[in-house]
């Protein structure tokens, strides 16, 4: 579309505002993206998305196959198979429900099926707990799924559209998990701008599986038995697809900014991570998801007291922007990483993100001390005093020029 006609479209339609949760925002994006097949199986907190999709279909707003499976395993398998025949598909789960689907989750990337799953991040039972923790989605971090974390309902909607565009790019064709923090996003409604359909149509091409489409007109066999003569090549192909995703993500955000006039491309930011008050910052915290809210508030308070502090929020965890993040982080005096997850027995007893950050810094000429924190597990609130405590530890590391060898648990009763 040329610039003139694009402007004509833009003036003919306008964005609307709706009060919806992060899960509902994913459902609205699914409607705008004209998703063909949605598979569902209830588990809190993801179920708020499937309920909203059901409502949209019942109200006649959305036309899609809506299949309630008998378990998460089938739920993910059905979405996967629908995706293979060329249907745009959406599914999702939370916590141990996601884990129950794990066999399907594990095999999806090699088959190059670009389905989307919303993960309503939830602690892994037992005990029966449903507060947010990122270990559910992170359990699948190494398998070829793209992983993105959002922190607002608006970002949930926008990122769903972007994720379809990236995943369904022929150079990528990988599944994508959109992580939304349980409760804080899934069960909290905020004002969200709903873009008009023509904008979405301009941004998001039709899903075309091309020569990989499973169809009588294109007879193929998917996933025959292979042995050691084949699997390494298959893994390398998946690896290449994930490498390709980096460039495709950048291009998608640029185009998103052009059409929707918001997002990192418009703000001059990096699609892979958000920087908050980092220009003149001496120390920063790094984290994912909604802990951005108390962190940003604490930063403003600390800055009133003259402390030069900032925040880097990772959006895309896979693919990881190792070089970009490493460059940005290496310029600070110290870095604190707030993990809403754990990795028992890992180096420094850290969470997952802290060790990714350490690895990202390894090839940088400067290695600021990295202080790792575990906080907000099981949905426990990350509080402003808690954030202050993390900044305090990070400041000390900056002064000492070295970080403690162990991870600090913030907000845990001793």
């Amino acid at each position: 579309m040329d610039a003139e006609s694009a402007t004509a479209v833009r003036t003919a339609v306008a964005e609307q505002e709706a009060l919806i949760s992060g899960s509902e925002a994913v459902a609205v994006a699914a409607k705008l993206a004209d998703v063909d097949v949605i598979t569902a199986y209830p588990i809190r907190p993801y179920d708020t998305m499937m309920q909203y999709v059901a409502k949209q279909i019942a109200n006649g707003e959305q036309d899609a196959e809506y299949i309630v499976a008998e378990s998460e395993h089938s739920q993910f398998e059905i979405a996967k198979h629908a995706n293979a025949v060329g249907a745009r598909s959406l599914t999702g789960s939370s916590g141990v429900g996601w884990c129950y689907a794990f066999e399907a989750i594990a095999v999806t990337p090699a088959l190059r099926l670009p389905m989307l799953a919303m993960v309503g991040n939830r602690a892994l039972d037992d005990p029966g707990a449903f507060g947010t923790e990122h270990n559910d989605a992170l359990a699948a971090r190494d398998l070829g799924w793209m992983h993105v974390w959002v922190d607002t309902a608006q970002e949930a909607l926008d990122t769903t559209l972007i994720a379809y565009r990236v995943a369904e790019d022929r150079r990528v064709f990988l599944p994508c998990a959109i992580s939304t923090d349980g409760a804080f996003l899934t069960h909290s409604q905020a004002l969200v701008k709903i873009p008009p359909k023509p904008w979405v149509d301009e941004f998001l091409p039709k899903y075309d599986r091309k020569e990989l489409r499973f169809h009588p007109d294109n007879p193929i066999t998917i996933a025959p038995q292979v042995n050691e003569d084949w699997l390494m090549e298959i893994r390398r192909q998946t690896d290449e697809a994930m490498r390709n995703a980096r460039g495709v993500i950048r291009a998608a955000y640029a185009d998103f900014g052009r059409i929707f006039r918001r997002g990192p491309a418009v703000d001059g930011g990096n699609p892979f991570f958000e920087e908050y008050r980092t220009e003149d910052a001496e120390i920063v915290l790094v984290g994912m998801g909604t802990l951005s809210m108390p962190v940003k508030v604490a930063i403003r308070k600390l800055r009133e007291q003259g402390q030069k502090v900032g925040f880097v929020r990772i959006r895309w965890f896979r693919p990881f922007d190792c070089d970009g993040l490493g460059k940005v982080l290496s310029r600070f005096a110290a870095i604190g990483v707030a993990d809403r997850d754990f990795s028992m027995g890992s180096p420094y007893n850290s969470g997952v993100v802290a060790n990714e950050v350490r690895a990202a810094l390894y090839n940088q000429p400067k290695h600021p001390p990295v202080v790792s924190f575990i906080t907000g597990l099981g949905g426990r609130e990350v509080t402003i005093p808690g954030v202050r405590e993390m900044f305090e530890h990070t400041r000390k590391a900056a002064e000492a020029g070295t970080a403690p060898n162990d991870t600090q648990w913030i907000g845990v009763r001793a």
Binding site: L111, R112, L212, P219, I220, P224, N227, E233, A241
Partner: protein, 398 residues
Amino acid sequence: MGRTVSVEVVYRGIFQTTLAKNICRGIVLAARKEGKIGIAFGRYGDSPQRNGIPAKNFAIVAPDEEELQLSMAQYEPAETDVTINLDDMLCKGVESWAWYGLQPINEKVREHGVLLVTSTLPAPEVVKFCHTRKTPYRLAILPALPSFSGLWVYKDDHTDARVLGALPKLCPELVSPDAMLEAVKEEWKDELKVASARRAYESVAAVTVRPGEGNPEVPYKFELPGWTKMREGVTVDGMTLGEPIKFGDQIGGYRPARNPYFKKYTTRTMRPVIDFDKCIKCTLCWLQCPDSCFDVTPDQTYDLNAEACCGCGVCEAVCPVDGCVTMVNEQAFTDNKSQWEAYKTDKKAYAKWVHAKIGNPPGRSHGFRYKGQYADELAKAGAPPAGRTRAGASGGEG
């Protein structure tokens, strides 16, 4: 101190799986008697096994642990000092689940190494089935029917002890005869088995197979593509539709497309011989064949595609006409050519050929079940025959 010695056992999946395992265990245990160290293992890619599918086991014996490490964490050795073939029809080639293409039975045998085959045929007959190669090797025959000592039934016909007994003679570097006999005694606690091993040691002899001797056919093989060339998404092309058959001026019938990468026929120990003059075109063989290996001829009869046939015998069992489809031991054949084309070319010659094949066939092969087998077994045991008897069905389990 000696060097590492590798032994390969090629066998029929399920039917001979325990036999192959016992032979490899026996080799390692015997070598241990002399202070050597070894490992015994199955070719991982052959598993899960299926009835009759060619499979492999290995025994590797080294002078010490560090030498042995060179042969560990591998699926198979690069070359063998001895390859043992427990079913002579595997001399036609080995197409397993573990790789693509046809592997000659002598492919791994090092120069002047030994191929030991259990067979009722003499060495010159067995050589005809083996693919030619550029370097000489030695061939030894252990006179025996293919043993049926498999996963479910262990027919203790002493093939295990006899093979083990023959090894020190054929490959003295592997283990001494005394150590081998001691190991056989310890493993089975049976003097008769020790005697069988000793007799095999005393009687076995090898002949040299010179370069160029044997079956000159070039075995089919495939290039494995790199990751940049492979189809993505773990996908392969689906099977296309088949085509009519053209022969002479005749065009008609239907030949289904078949997997060009996996042909299956080395699984076969018997194959159907079809008497086209008797065929009543009932379709049953074509319909019931589990591997779709029958082609519909322009005459509307059914021709065997011998590259696709596993030799299961369902066609013979369902054929309502006596002597129309007859399973014959694979020893009687040297190629996979179309029977119908031979029939169309010269009907008289073909009739003679059919008569020769089914009139005086080699016995039924091991592990092969057929209609009337129970009656045959009873007859052999001295009971009065019951039910239908068949030409060529006298070999029993063989």
